[in-house]
């Protein structure tokens, strides 16, 4: 079969051998992950992992599919108004959840920007976070939202701010045996709004040159009482820019405050030069996008 042989050679893409497990509960998954020898990868939607496996970028000894666990596939709103989004819930299911979309439009829109319809049918919030790409579109949105991860591991469960999960491109702070079960979005005060914008050179399906998420809350007089600004693709990990959020607090999010926010956002950037954008461009655009996202968040906060 010369044709087949040539095809495999051309693609050079045979995945290396690995074992596969699909545990049905969180406890079972922790057991499998904690007892595994060698390199282990957790499989949620697979839209990054399968590509990495095929390209030989990762060569695990074991792949653990967490989609058999009900909790991982569920979106739930708690009585205090917080949302628990199972780490493997796909983007399309997140977009279809009306209550979530209404409460956290920025989070939902950020997730929805990832990939094609086909990718949206599989890709998950937990996977996007744990893949730890600096340019992950959904991550600035959930960092700005003040979300925490529910992490399960051999010592039980713990809550971790989402920004503490990625530590470097492709690396996370998760210990052996741990995995992300859900992402928890906090209860939402009245007059709150969020937004995420990204810069790409085309209209669809590209990797962000810069991404900016803003989440803010106003009081009854329209004065900002809390604000969080997060940036993607301008540093080795997604950044929470505390100075940029602080620039809005105590103001009516006027032009002067927005100018301070933009300056703080640009100053926080530590980007690379690459084919998608230069350092100078990324710094400039980070300020511009953060400002625009803040204006959208402001408008949304004013309407609820």
């Amino acid at each position: 079969m010369p044709n087949l042989a040539r095809r495999e050679e051309e693609q050079g893409s045979k995945m290396s051998g690995f074992q596969f497990e699909a545990p049905a509960s969180v406890d079972e998954a922790v057991g499998v992950l904690a007892n595994a020898a060698g390199n282990v990868r957790v499989l949620a939607g697979g839209t990054d992992l399968l590509v990495q496996l095929r390209a030989g970028i990762v060569k695990p000894d074991l792949v653990v599919d967490i989609k058999r666990i009900d909790e991982l596939n569920t979106i739930r709103q708690e009585s205090d108004g917080s949302f628990l989004i199972g780490a493997a819930v796909c983007g399309q299911a997140i977009s279809e959840n009306d209550a979530l979309h209404k409460t956290w439009p920025g989070v939902v829109e950020a997730m929805d920007l990832i990939g094609s319809t086909q990718v949206q049918g599989r890709a998950s919030l937990g996977g996007n976070l744990c893949n730890a790409s600096p340019a992950a579109d959904s991550v600035p949105g959930i960092v700005a939202a003040g979300a925490v991860c529910i992490v399960a591991g051999p010592n039980g469960r713990r809550e971790v701010p989402v920004e503490e999960i990625p530590t470097a491109p492709g690396k996370t702070s998760l210990a052996k045996g741990e995995f992300v079960v859900a992402i928890k979005l906090p209860p939402r005060p009245a007059h709150s709004g969020d937004a995420y914008l990204r810069m790409i050179p085309r209209t669809e399906m590209d990797i962000a040159i810069v991404g900016a998420g803003v989440n803010l809350t106003l009081d009854d007089q329209g004065v900002c009482t809390a604000a969080r600004v997060a940036l993607g693709a301008v540093a080795p990990t997604v950044l929470l820019v505390k100075d940029a959020g602080a620039a809005l607090v105590g103001t009516k999010v006027d032009e002067a405050a927005l100018t301070k926010l933009a300056a703080a956002a640009s100053a926080a950037c530590n980007p690379i030069d690459d084919k998608r954008g230069t350092i100078e461009y990324r710094k400039k655009v980070a300020g511009v996008l953060a400002q625009r996202a803040a204006k959208i968040a402001l408008e949304r906060a004013g309407s609820n």
Partner: protein, 158 residues
């Protein structure tokens, strides 16, 4: 290495297969189940040639493992026509010449069918965004988009 025994429903029929952990859903469809209508293009989720519907959602079959699919409900291009009767989208693609080489066509048809099941009255913009993950390197996209819009209008009318 032990093979996985998987039972799934493909185009309404229960099937069983054995697969290695390394085999993708696309490998299984083509090599184990002989359903070769689903095409391998990029194998990295970029081109959409391998599009299938998995538990109601449009996905790239190159981005799932065969071993993941126990209990899954899968729809492929082979399930689109009813016997000798083409699906309206298939018929329209022929009538309006919405293909040249045909390699991307099964993926476009499966994706378009999934769209019209969810949204019987899409705008042109919605069709273009929905199908943005399906690449065609022959025709450009206008005839494809027009065919989908025409079928949507006809199906709403009937």
């Amino acid at each position: 290495m032990a093979k996985f025994h998987v039972t799934a429903t493909v185009n309404g029929e229960e099937v069983e297969y054995l697969c290695d952990p390394q085999q993708t859903m696309l490998d299984v469809l083509r090599d184990e189940l002989n359903l070769t209508g689903t095409k391998e293009g990029c194998s990295s989720g970029d081109c959409g040639a391998c599009s299938v519907i998995l538990d109601g959602r449009l996905v790239c079959s190159c981005l799932a493992l065969g071993a993941e699919l126990d209990g899954a409900k899968i729809e492929t291009i082979e399930g689109m026509a009813e016997g000798d009767e083409l699906h309206p989208l298939q018929q329209k693609f022929l009538e309006e010449a919405a293909l040249q080489c045909g390699f991307c066509t099964p993926g476009f048809l499966v994706a378009a069918k999934n769209l019209l099941e969810r949204n019987p009255d899409p705008t042109e913009t919605e069709v273009r965004y929905w199908l943005a993950g399906n690449l065609c390197r022959c025709t450009g996209y206008d005839k494809i988009i027009r065919s989908v819009l025409d079928v949507a209008a006809e199906m709403r009318g009937s």
